[in-house]
Amino acid sequence: MYHTTTWLLWLLAALLPTMLTRNPFYLIILLLAVAVAYSTIGRSSPMAASWGLLLRVGLSLAAFSALVNPLTVHHGDTVLLTLPRLSLRPGGIILLELGGRITLEALSYGLVNGLSLMAILLIFATFNVLVDHHQLLRSIPAFLYQTGVVISIAIAFVPQMMASLQEVREAQTIRGHRFRGIRDLLPLFMPLLTSGLERAIQLAESMEARGFGGDVSHSHRKQELAYKASIALSLFGLLAGMFWYGYFPAARWVGGSMGAGGLLLLVWTLRAMGRRVGRSRYRREMWRHRDTLVSAVSLLSLAVFTLFWLLGRRALVFYPYPRFTLPTFNPLLGLASLAPVAPVLTTPKKGKAGL
């Protein structure tokens, strides 16, 4: 399909608008673009089953936000209706007030917030469906590789545990086991735990017997020490830089360069450490023409939103209080919000020869 890097850029380009804007027009365009991307290329993925669930969760979150906001926030001038009031005020301080004045402003703000929550959920859900998890794991840096494998095994463990639990529950049911209290958990929990452990030990043996944890070339103690010192130094640089940046606004460039220097040193050290783990990769991902296209579109969208945020922030803002006004619409931003649909346009149609 697409290169993992392409998908990561896609994810960034889709997420950034949800962080920067509350403008409902852009959010709706974004949501639609993501939904189209899912329904045309994501549906055949083996992970597609999770999408429907997340969609439902997203919808209910949005509905919840759209309901709760007007019920609890009573600012705004346009009163739609007035409900009986229910308030919680211990010691005269109003903690929570339900009902009362329901305003158009609060309703619209709740809706927009819900929309943005739903967009974030759906973006991650779609990314989850589209990206190849093993490739994603493989593209993490070598020094984190072992952690990555452990995570992927842990993920695989969950469905296995569910299957075991089912097996154990059946086995205990036919012995006449009934669930009456906390003590009755033991017959379910113990077999589950022990079989999970046995399984883990077997897997560990199998990985060990195939050389996992591999040829970490025995580095010298001095070298080890140098790496540690380098990490400490880079972290110090990073923190000091941030501190400087915040407290001496007159010379921000000093703090900025200290921070950047620390970050660079950290990346370099971790890379050098990663190189010691002698480990090759079987699969090399292919970067196709369409990857360039999709990445370019994502980068462009990122650039447009960042520019607007830096220069003309007002175009992104939607704040309905105190009196509701229709949000503005900028065609360029609207176009940029469409970016997540790019993979759909560049994916070859079925039946045609693949790229």
């Binding site: 083996p46 093993h134 494998v149 992927s152 095994i153 695989a156 075991s164 097996e167 154990v168 059946e170 086995a171 205990q172 049911t173 036919i174 012995r175 006449g176 086991h177 009934r178 033991l186 017959p187 929990f189 113990m190 077999p191 022990t194 079989s195 046995e198 399984r199 077997q202 897997l203 560990a204 043996e205 199998s206 990985m207 060990e208 017997a209 195939r210 050389g211 996992f212 944890g213 591999g214 040829d215 002698g278 480990r279 090759s280 990769r281 079987y282 699969r283 090399r284």
Partner: protein
């Protein structure tokens, strides 16, 4: 290729060593079969060859091991991984990634091999093992035999000098086991790979082995020799070898083909045995009545219109490939599953109306995996738990434990028992409620010949006491020994249903060794033949 000198090893927290002063030499290109009672140290010995013992398990290790000139104790399993390929018993639990091709590359990636070399080796292994069509498949979608072949492939990519396999076929049906074993034979003859294999069902493998190592367990001296020499002496022998020994055949036949020549001379003098060939089904009062039973898991049809009636006191064997619906059928009888179509009646009552509690009081079901059952601190607690759950008084099961040969373990922690003992512990935990119908799912996994015979005798006694017994199994010899009736399922349907003698005669897969030898429905077991010879 492999040399062990005076190896003694004991696991941590155990006084008695598993291996005692073991010395062994295996030549390059040899196929060595390791046999022995369960708990005799087969797995331990195999794990010495790549250093998992003592590196992974700890414990006290003495003596010296050399594999292709390397010392596994010094070099650790990781260091040995390019010399010794290790395949484990459970096809499920040894995979790391989820696609076949990546699994094959996993070991090479760990060894930092260049990509071009990896590609070449993956192609070679896919062809050698005949698994090229599986390359893009997810491992969870493979059958047991395919999984084990992928597991073999995953260690072959490092081009090891020795392939070590710990009971690789014990969880497979006979057809899948055959696939794996012929693959091994090919690797042994074509590539000259040294193979060390442990196995319980000897009738499958003796013909491939160059030599057999017998570990008696309990500190007895090990014995190594040509298959004929070893089978002539050890207790654990397949039916053909037992018959040959009883009749004094020389040289001892290893395959049915060799045995037939000798059997031919015998047949003419044989009298028919006295046991009756008729099924008494018609005059038995039916306890289980299944009508047009359909069931599917998520759209995948497991049972398709099963019809089956079982009478009181019958002993039925349920056979068929993995995935043919045996377990699903048993679960319907015990009320864990309810029919989507059709009905299951016990003693004339529909299981949907009886309620699980009422069923399990009278029907005992021992699942495939005894580990799913056992949780208590002692076997005694385990049995008391079942009795209390059924509203019975605790205790009163000493007789049962004695019959199962488990009285020594009454106060043992069930999880510490060997595979065979755990199986019997689970059996005891179910039978202690004295069910009228006994259902067993694959009861002979990991059992040696003694334990199997003990189990068969015990079940026959239960049947004679008026219980109804149904076992789902691949074990042809067990069925030949104790079942009255055989039901073969295929793709969720009853394909064959008839008296054991009739069904088990002249079948490629479902015939016992004796039946294949004589091609005569009077002879299913060694006892049948010996009885006829004596008269």
């Amino acid at each position: 290729m492999i040399e062990l000198r005076n190896v003694t090893y004991s696991y941590p927290d155990s006084e008695a060593p598993v291996l005692r002063d073991l010395s062994l030499r295996v030549e390059e290109g040899e196929f060595l079969l390791v046999i022995g009672a369960s708990g005799a140290g087969k797995s331990t010995l195999l794990r010495c060859l790549n250093g998992l013992v003592p590196h992974f398990y700890g414990g006290v290790f003495r003596g010296e091991v050399r594999v292709a000139g390397h010392d596994p104790v010094a070099e650790s399993p990781r260091g040995m991984s390019s010399l010794v390929g290790f395949v484990f018993q459970d096809p499920e639990a040894q995979f790391v990634v989820d696609v076949v091709e990546d699994e094959l590359a996993f070991a090479m990636e760990n060894h930092n091999l260049p990509q071009s070399l990896m590609r070449k080796r993956v192609e070679e292994v896919l062809d050698q093992l005949d698994i090229a069509p599986l390359r893009g498949r997810r491992i969870s979608t493979l059958s047991g035999g395919e999984k084990q072949r992928v597991a073999i492939g995953a260690v072959l990519t490092l081009q090891p000098k020795v392939l070590v396999l710990d009971e690789p076929t014990s969880q497979l049906d006979p057809q899948a086991a055959e696939e794996v074993l012929t693959t091994l034979q090919k690797l042994n003859t074509d590539l000259g790979l040294t193979i060390v294999l442990s196995e319980h069902r000897l009738e499958r493998v003796v013909q491939y082995a160059d030599r057999i190592l017998y570990l008696p367990g309990g500190g007895g001296p090990p014995f190594i020799g040509r298959p004929r020499e070893v089978l002539a002496q050890v207790e654990l022998a397949p039916p053909l070898a037992r018959l040959a020994r009883a009749l004094g055949w020389e040289p001892l036949p290893l395959t049915i083909k060799e045995g037939r020549k000798l059997a031919g001379r015998l047949t003419c003098n044989l009298q028919p045995p006295t046991s009756n060939l008729q099924l008494p089904t018609s005059n038995l009062q039916p306890v289980i009545d299944i009508r047009n039973l359909w069931f599917s898991y998520d759209g995948c049809e497991a049972l398709r219109g099963v019809e089956l009636t079982v009478g009181r006191g019958e002993f039925v064997a349920l056979m068929g490939r993995n995935g043919s619906g045996k377990t699903t059928l048993l679960k319907h009888i015990v009320g864990l599953l309810h029919p989507q179509q059709g009905r299951v009646e016990l003693w004339g009552q529909d299981t949907r109306r009886m309620g699980t509690e009422a069923i399990v009081r009278r029907v005992g079901y021992v699942p495939q995996n005894p580990n799913a059952l056992l949780f208590a601190d002692t076997l005694r607690d385990e049995l008391d738990f079942t009795r209390r759950s059924h509203g019975l008084q605790p205790g009163g099961y000493d007789e049962l434990l004695r019959t199962l040969g488990m009285e020594r373990h009454a106060n043992a922690y069930p999880r510490d028992l060997s595979a065979g003992e755990r199986q019997r512990a689970a059996l005891a935990a179910i039978l202690v409620a004295d069910p009228e119908i006994i259902l067993l799912d694959e009861p002979t996994r990991g059992l040696d010949y003694h334990q199997k015979r003990a189990l068969a005798d015990f079940l026959m006694r239960m049947r004679d006491g008026g219980r109804t017994v149904i076992i789902a199994t691949h074990d042809v010899e067990l069925v030949a020994r104790c079942a009255d009736r055989v039901v073969i399922l295929g793709e969720g349907q009853v394909v064959v249903d008839g008296p054991a003698r009739e069904v088990m005669t002249n079948s490629l897969v479902f015939s016992s060794q004796m039946n294949k030898l004589f091609r005569d429905d009077r002879f299913l077991t060694v006892e049948d033949v010996l009885e006829a010879v004596e008269r």
